[in-house]
C-alpha cells in the first residue's frame, strides 16, 4: 500500500490534461578509472518536465537507471557551489539550469569542468582550486593594537564597495572556464582574485598591499586576457572580469 508517487499521480490523470513531460537525451561524459583508463560519452534518454533542473535529470538517471553515475551536489538551489559542470559547452550549476532554457530538442551534453583533474565522471579534484584561494590570504587582516569593544564602523558606501565579490560560492565555474587557467594551472584563476578583491576593497582590511603583491606575481592578475568567460560563467552574477580589472588598476595606482 505504497503512497503513490507524484509521477504516478501525473500519469493517472485523464488524457485531456497534456503531460508536461518530454523526452530529452543527456549525453554525459563518463570516466571511471576502476573500469577503464579512457573517458567516453554515454547517452541517457530521460522523460522529464522541461521546467525541472539539469540536476533533477542527473538524479533521475542515478536513481532509476545507473547508480554508478557520479557527481557532487548538496543544496540544489545554487548556494553551496557543489555542482558546477559544463552543460552544452558552458559552465553552469546543474541545480540552477532549467532544461527548458538550454534547448532540450537536441542532446544536452554534460561534462566535468575543465582544467582540474577528473577523478570520476563529473567529479574533479578541487584541491588546486582551493589552494589558489588560500594563497591570497582570504581573511580579514587588521593591525589594531586596540581592538574596538563594539563592532568596527563601516559606512554603507564602503560596505557596498565590495558587495559584489562577497557573493562568491567557490563553485569554480569561473576559474574552470578561463582559457589561461586551462593552459597553465599555475595561474591563480578568477575565483582566487575575486576573493582577494573582496578583502582589498574592504575598508576594514589593512593587508591590501600584501595581497596585491601576491597577485603581482607572474601567475597573478596580469595573466588575465579579459575574455569575459568568467563573468559569463558566474552563477551568482558577479562581474568577475571587472573585479580582476579593478585589482589590476589598484596594482598600478596603489589606490584601493
Amino acid at each position: 500500500m505504497a503512497t503513490p508517487t507524484l509521477d504516478k499521480v501525473e500519469d493517472a490523470k485523464p488524457a485531456e490534461a497534456p503531460s508536461p513531460y518530454i523526452m530529452v537525451t543527456f549525453r554525459i561524459r563518463r570516466f571511471n578509472p576502476e573500469v577503464s583508463a579512457e573517458a567516453s560519452w554515454e547517452d541517457f534518454p530521460v522523460e522529464i518536465d522541461p521546467k525541472e533542473r539539469v540536476l533533477d535529470a542527473l538524479h533521475k538517471i542515478k536513481w532509476d537507471v545507473d547508480g554508478t553515475l557520479t557527481f557532487r551536489r548538496s543544496c540544489a538551489h545554487g548556494i553551496c557551489g557543489s555542482d558546477a559542470m559544463r552543460i552544452n559547452g558552458r559552465n553552469r550549476l546543474a541545480c540552477k539550469t532549467l532544461i527548458k532554457d538550454i534547448n532540450p530538442e537536441k542532446p544536452i551534453t554534460v561534462e566535468p569542468i575543465k582544467g582540474l583533474t577528473v577523478l570520476k565522471d563529473l567529479v574533479v579534484d578541487m584541491e588546486p582550486f582551493f589552494q589558489a584561494y588560500r594563497d591570497v590570504m582570504p581573511f580579514l587582516i587588521t593591525k589594531d593594537t586596540n581592538e574596538p569593544t563594539r563592532e568596527r564602523l563601516q559606512t554603507a558606501e564602503d560596505r557596498e564597495r565590495f558587495d559584489d565579490t562577497t557573493k562568491c560560492i567557490l563553485c569554480a565555474a569561473c576559474t574552470s572556464s578561463c582559457p589561461v587557467f586551462w593552459n597553465d594551472g599555475q595561474y591563480f584563476g578568477p575565483a582566487a582574485i575575486v576573493n582577494a578583491h573582496r578583502f582589498i576593497f574592504d575598508s576594514r582590511d589593512e593587508a591590501g598591499e600584501q595581497r596585491l603583491e601576491i597577485l603581482n606575481d607572474k601567475d597573478g592578475v596580469w595573466r588575465c586576457r579579459t575574455t569575459f568567460n568568467c563573468t559569463d560563467a558566474c552563477p551568482r552574477g558577479i562581474e568577475v572580469t571587472k573585479a580582476i580589472q579593478e585589482v589590476k588598476r589598484a596594482l598600478i595606482t596603489r589606490r584601493y
Binding site: S74, L140, E151, F162
Partner: protein, 585 residues
C-alpha cells in the same frame, strides 16, 4: 584501514563545526571531518539573519530576547540555556564582525538590524529589529567568514570523509568517547580517528521529508551514529515547517521577506494572518504561520487550480528595497518559477526546515547519556544537538545564533578537556568492524530493493502523516510504513560496486540513517498527546503542561534476540524566570 590520533575531532564543517574548530585548533591538535567541502555546508543556505539584542536601531535587551525564545519554543525551552543564548548573542555577532563578516550597515556605520518572526519589544508588545543581517545571504556570509578564519588559523580538514560510527569505551564502568570511524569518499578507505574529545556538528535530518528546504546531504548521520550506540535523542518529534518554501520545491524564501514588509495572501487577496495573529500578523512564530497557511488551504482559500498554496506578496515593496535587501530570494523566484517578484506574488507552501530535537547536551555542549550523566569526551553543537534553546519551535535567526554561541562553547570545552587529559581512551577491539561489515554488506548485496524507491516512499509518508497536522491515526500510519521500509531496507543493493567516489553506496547508508531517525520522530510524536510548538495533534489540540511539560528522551534498545525497539523516557524542562502562559501573537 588507517588509524589517526588527534586531541579533538570535529564531525561536520558547517557553522557550528567551524566555529568550534576555530576555538579547538587554538587549544589542541584538531581534525575536522566533513562529508562535504566546508563551504558546501547548509549553513550557507540560511538567509535572514542572526538575532542579537545589539539595540543598534531601537531599544532592545537580552532579557526580551530570552523571553521571546522561551515563548517561541512554547515553554519547552530550557530557560538557563536560552538566557546564555541571548546574552552571548551580542558578543557572537561582534566576534563575527571582527572576523570580517560584512554585515549590512546603518547610516552611522553600525550593524543594521531588521524585524523577524517572534522577536518582540518588551515581551510581545510589537515587533523589534533584532536580526543582524547581510542582505538575504547571512548564512552564506557566516559560512564564508568562518571558513576564512579556519584558513587563517590553519584548521586541518579531512574533506569528503563520512563519519559512520561513534566509538565508545568503558573505563571503570563509565562510557567514554574513544573516537570515530570514517569512510573516505575518494578511495573507499576506512579511517579510525582516535581522539580525546569528539564534537558532533553534522547538522539536521530534514531529508526524510519530501518538501524540504534541506540539502540532499542532510541525512542525520551524526544523530544516527550516537543513537545506534545507545545514546538518547531528545525531542525528535519537534520539527519546524518554515512557512515560506517555494511551492512544491521547498526552497527557502526567508522570513526576512516578511520582515521587510512582505505579506501572505490567500486566493481572495486577503491578508489572512491578521485573523490568526492580530499583533505580530505575518511575523508570528513559524509554527503559527505554517498552521495558518494550511488552515486557509484546507478551508478552500488556497491559490492555484488545486488550491494547494498561498502567495507571498512583495509587489508593494519598492524594487530598490528588494534588490538591496532580498536579492537572492527574488532571483530564486525568477529562476525556478519564472515569476517577477516586483509585479507578481510568489506561490509558497510550508517546507520542512529544522529539527529542534537532536543529541541532548548541557550548556557546555557535553553530550548526555541519560537525564543527567555526561559522556566524557563527547560533545555536540548546532542543529544536530538539542541544548534545548529552541524547545518546541525555533525562532527565525536563532539557529545562526545557536551555531555560533554553542559551537564556540563546545569547541572551547572539548579542547580544554583534551588539553587536560593526559592520555587517549583506548579504542575498542576491532574499532572499524561495524563500519566495515556495513559497507561490505551493502556493496555485496544482491537484494532487490532500490534506495531511491524506499527513500521516496519514506518522504511521501512523512509528508502525508507527520507534517504540520498530525493525529494518532496518521502517526500510526507513518510508524507502520517506516517499519515496513526498515524491513525492506535489509534487502537493498547498490549498482556501484567500486571504491572511488561511491556515492551510490553512501546514499544507501544515508537512507539507513533517515529511516532510524524517522522512526524515532514518529514514535516520539505518537506518545506526545498534546499540541506544542511545531508538534500539532488535531486529536489533542491544546498544550498540556500537566502531563507534557517535559522533554522526550528516546533510546534504542536491542533485545536478547536482536530485535530493536525504542524506549521513551522524559526529562524535566529547566524553568527559571518565566512561567508558562498561553501563547498569542
Amino acid at each position: 584501514m588507517k588509524i589517526h590520533k588527534y586531541d579533538t575531532v570535529i564531525v561536520g564543517a558547517g557553522g557550528a563545526g567551524m566555529r568550534a574548530a576555530i576555538e579547538a585548533t587554538k587549544r589542541s591538535r584538531t581534525a575536522v571531518l566533513t562529508k562535504l567541502y566546508p563551504t558546501r555546508s547548509h549553513t550557507g543556505a540560511a538567509q535572514g539573519g542572526m538575532a542579537a539584542a545589539l539595540a543598534n536601531v531601537e531599544e532592545d535587551n537580552w532579557e526580551w530576547h530570552t523571553f521571546d525564545t522561551v515563548k517561541g519554543g512554547d515553554y519547552l525551552v530550557d530557560q538557563d540555556a536560552a538566557e546564555i543564548l541571548a546574552k552571548e548573542a551580542i558578543d557572537s555577532v561582534l566576534d563575527l564582525e571582527k572576523m570580517g563578516l560584512p554585515f549590512n550597515r546603518t547610516p552611522n556605520g553600525t550593524i543594521d538590524q531588521r524585524r523577524f518572526g517572534g522577536h518582540s519589544r518588551n515581551h510581545g508588545e510589537a515587533p523589534v529589529r533584532r536580526s543582524c543581517y547581510a542582505a538575504d545571504r547571512t548564512g552564506h556570509m557566516i559560512l564564508q567568514t568562518l571558513y576564512q578564519n579556519c584558513v587563517k588559523e590553519g584548521v586541518e580538514f579531512f574533506n569528503e570523509f563520512y563519519v559512520l560510527d561513534q566509538l565508545i569505551t568503558e573505563v571503570d564502568g563509565v562510557k567514554h568517547s574513544a573516537g570515530v570511524v570514517a569512510y573516505e569518499l575518494a578511495t573507499g578507505e576506512i579511517h579510525v580517528f582516535q581522539a580525546k574529545a569528539v564534537i558532533y556538528a553534522s547538522g539536521g535530518c530534514g531529508k526524510f521529508f519530501k518538501v524540504t528546504s534541506n540539502a540532499h546531504t542532510l541525512t542525520g548521520d551524526g544523530q544516527a551514529a550516537v543513537y545506534r550506540r545507545g545514546l538518547p535523542l531528545e525531542d525528535m518529534e519537534f520539527f519546524q515547517f518554515h512557512p515560506t518554501g517555494i511551492w512544491r520545491m521547498g526552497i527557502l524564501l526567508t522570513e526576512g521577506a516578511r520582515g521587510e514588509g512582505g505579506i501572505l495572501r490567500n486566493k481572495d487577496g486577503e491578508r489572512f494572518m491578521e485573523k490568526y495573529a492580530p499583533v505580530m500578523k505575518d511575523l508570528a512564530s513559524r509554527d503559527v504561520v505554517s498552521r495558518s497557511i494550511y488552515t486557509e488551504i484546507r478551508e478552500g482559500r488556497g491559490c492555484g487550480p488545486e488550491g494547494d498554496h498561498v502567495f507571498l506578496d512583495l509587489t508593494h515593496l519598492p524594487p530598490e528595497q528588494l534588490d538591496a535587501k532580498l536579492p537572492d530570494i527574488t532571483e530564486f523566484a525568477r529562476t525556478y518559477l519564472g515569476i517577477e517578484p516586483y509585479t507578481d506574488p510568489i506561490p509558497i507552501q510550508p517546507t520542512a526546515h529544522y529539527a529542534m530535537g537532536g543529541i541532548p547536551t548541557n550548556v557546555e555542549g557535553e553530550v548526555l547519556l541519560d537525564n543527567t550523566t555526561v559522556v566524557p569526551g563527547l560533545y555536540a553543537a548546532g542543529e544536530v544537538a538539542c541544548v534545548s534553546v529552541h524547545g518546541a519551535n525555533r525562532l527565525g535567526t536563532n539557529s545562526l545564533l545557536d551555531i555560533n554561541v554553542f559551537g564556540r562553547r563546545a569547541g572551547i570545552a572539548a579542547a580544554e578537556y583534551s588539553a587536560k587529559k593526559a592520555t587517549h581512551v583506548e579504542l575498542p577491539e576491532n574499532p572499524a568492524s561495524l563500519v566495515v561489515e556495513q559497507i561490505e554488506r551493502m556493496r555485496d548485496s544482491t537484494g532487490t530493493e532500490s534506495v531511491s524507491v524506499l527513500r521516496r516512499e519514506l518522504q511521501e509518508t512523512m509528508d502525508a502523516n507527520v507534517m504540520v497536522f498530525r493525529t494518532e491515526q496518521t502517526i500510526k500510519t507513518a510508524v507502520e510504513k517506516i517499519a515496513e521500509l526498515r524491513e525492506r531496507y535489509k534487502n537493498v543493493s547498490v549498482q556501484d560496486k567500486g571504491k572511488r567516489f561511491n556515492t551510490d553506496l553512501l546514499e544507501a547508508v544515508e537512507l539507513g540513517n533517515l529511516l532510524d531517525l524517522a522512526e524515532v520522530m514518529a514514535v516520539s510524536a505518537l506518545a506526545r498527546k498534546e499540541s506544542r510548538g511545531g508538534h500539532y495533534r488535531e486529536d489533542y489540540p491544546n498544550r498540556d503542561d500537566v502531563n507534557f511539560m517535559r522533554h522526550t528522551m528516546a533510546y534504542r534498545e536491542v533485545g536478547d534476540d536482536g530485535t530493536e525497539s525504542i524506549r521513551l523516557d522524559y526529562k524535566p524542562v529547566v524553568q527559571t524566570r518565566y512561567q508558562p502562559m498561553e501563547r498569542k501573537y
